[in-house]
Amino acid sequence: MKRKSGSNQDAVVLPKKKEGFIFNITRYKDYYLMLLPGLIFFLIFRYGPLYGLTIAFQDYYPLKGISGSEFVGLKHFRALFTNPFFKRVFRNTVIISIYKFLVNFPAPIFLALTINEIRNLRYKKVMQSISYLPHFLSWVVVSGIMMEFLSPSRGVINVILKNLGHEPIFFIADARYFRGMLVLTSLWKSIGWGSIIYLSSIAGVDPELYEAAAIDGAGRLRRIWHVTLPSVIPLLTIMLILQSGKILNDSFQQVYNFLTVPTMEVGDVISTFVYRTGIQEMNSSFSTAVNLFKNIISFVMVIATNAIAKRINEYSLW
């Protein structure tokens, strides 16, 4: 700590500005040489596409290229607001995000609390391992598993429904169930993994606090309520804020693998729309405009929520 503040002071007291840029570079050229390939990589592959964003303001034709295509200003953005499909995908994206948020945000916290209450360590470990597993599978695999599991003729749930005298439900292809299915499959995939971060924060609680609470006569429920839960509140607040900034970030990989014609109306989201218009229909400029519109809103929201989170707590992504 002491050393760190010392070196900070050095930086203030002895600015090497006199020697300037060239001096700094040559003095640390070892390090800059190690950085250079990475910086070039970021410049080409992460900043390069930003130049390509200009096609959102053009009528892009592949033969003419970016420099030769005609500039049309905000034409595609105006088209976007009158496009009926855009309204639909925007609404779907927000609704699905909110559903997922309502279910998938509290679920891992509840799981962490219950796992924490399991006293048998072996059982606890096995259960944790099982719950993390789906996180490591791709959405292609998970969608294949779920199409089988939720199948109207063979799936366990539908066999139970049929035995109870109900009609089988085609969960994957029925528009009424599609959004719920998206929420529950992503819960299936991510609940265990999501609980790790809360478990680690619970593990940081001083055991003496539990003992003190027990001596004061607090039962297990009250210990959970007054000791365990408060220990995750700061983390929970941050996660809540950061998550709310991601409301437009839909899961392309999930939705694309589940989406079929009958569920388009309720399941088509921004990223699948961008893919369809851009790659399949070759409507590059319009697709880029949609994507840019979403990215700008998303960027502003993430930065804003990040700043709020930082202010509330010193913990932050940056």
Partner: protein, 300 residues
């Protein structure tokens, strides 16, 4: 008097243990039900993949195999496209992971040195890319423009350094005590020598974690294939699996009964083969992933 006191104490104890039981029941029940919910779909998939068509078509639960028939696996094994894609996936995972870890480890090192001028500016330059990207089409045009379209390298190069992994590794370097490094520098070692001889051996845990993340990412990746590759010789297994799964669907709709049966077992056989490396390796490497999450929550 004494008796009532005893009674009181007893009743308090009973109340307490009642609450204990309640918490235990809820905790064990919830966690167990969750685990069963996660395992059941796997059981069904595996059962279908090894069952003969008569069983697949029969009504009822399919949670354990009653009869064995490996024709689904046989057909998948004889499918050249599937095996070739499997090979491509292994190749991209091995090459992609080693290159990614090496490049990220090298680039992270200078950024962990606090006295390096312009360090925070460079960090901002990198972190920005985590929050704003050009999006699908501009990236597509770039990939086509620099000749990576229909090229194996499209699986390796565009994802070689991720800002997130870079920050994780850099943070770990920063937590390593500087004294060793400084003495090496005084002895005249260059930055690269310090990195290879001191920092990388000291950072094995974080490098292993990042390597596993990247490897799983490569194994599971299919979007780059779908967007940038049309040459079947370069397809990856996840993409081929997706094609197999989707082709089954359309056949379902066309009601070509005989094919459906085979396709169903074939689909599940392909699915099992695609996920089996992850499921097998997973129990042994799981703790590294969990460690990684903790590292990720370190402040940047």
């Amino acid at each position: 008097m004494v008796k009532t006191k005893d009674n009181k104490e007893k009743s308090r104890k009973i109340k307490k243990s009642g609450e204990d039981y309640l918490v235990d029941i809820i905790a064990y029940a919830f966690v167990t039900i969750l685990a069963v919910t996660i395992i059941l779909p796997f059981l069904q998939v595996i059962t279908i993949s090894v069952s003969p068509s008569s069983v697949v078509n029969a009504y009822g639960f399919h949670l354990y195999p009653k009869q064995f028939d490996f024709s689904g696996y046989k057909r998948i094994v004889s499918d050249k496209l599937f095996w070739h894609s499997y090979l491509i996936t292994i190749l991209r995972t091995v090459i992609g992971t080693s290159l990614a870890v090496f490049c990220t480890a090298v680039m992270a090192y200078p950024l962990s040195i606090q006295k390096l001028p312009y360090r925070s500016g460079i960090m901002k330059f990198i972190v920005f890319t985590m929050y704003f990207s050009g999006g699908l089409i501009p990236t597509y045009l770039l990939i086509r423009g620099i000749g990576l379209y229909n090229n194996f390298l499209v699986y390796i190069i565009p994802s070689i350094i991720s800002a997130y992994n870079l920050i994780i590794i850099r943070n770990y370097y920063m937590s390593v005590p500087r004294s060793l490094e400084e003495s090496a520098e005084i002895d005249g070692a260059t930055g690269m020598q310090v990195l290879i001889k001191i920092m990388i051996p000291l950072s094995k845990p974080v490098l292993a974690t990042v390597a596993l993340w990247v490897a799983v990412g490569h194994w599971n990746s299919w979007q780059d294939n779908m967007i940038y590759v049309t040459n079947k010789k370069l397809f990856v297994s996840q993409y081929v699996l997706q094609m197999i799964l989707k082709s089954g669907q359309t056949q379902d709709m066309e009601m070509t009964t005989d094919v459906v049966v085979h396709t169903e077992t074939m689909k599940m056989a392909a699915l099992v083969l695609t996920m089996i490396p992850i499921v097998c390796v997973y129990p042994f490497v799981q703790k590294y992933f969990v460690k990684g999450i903790m590292m990720g929550s370190l402040k940047g």
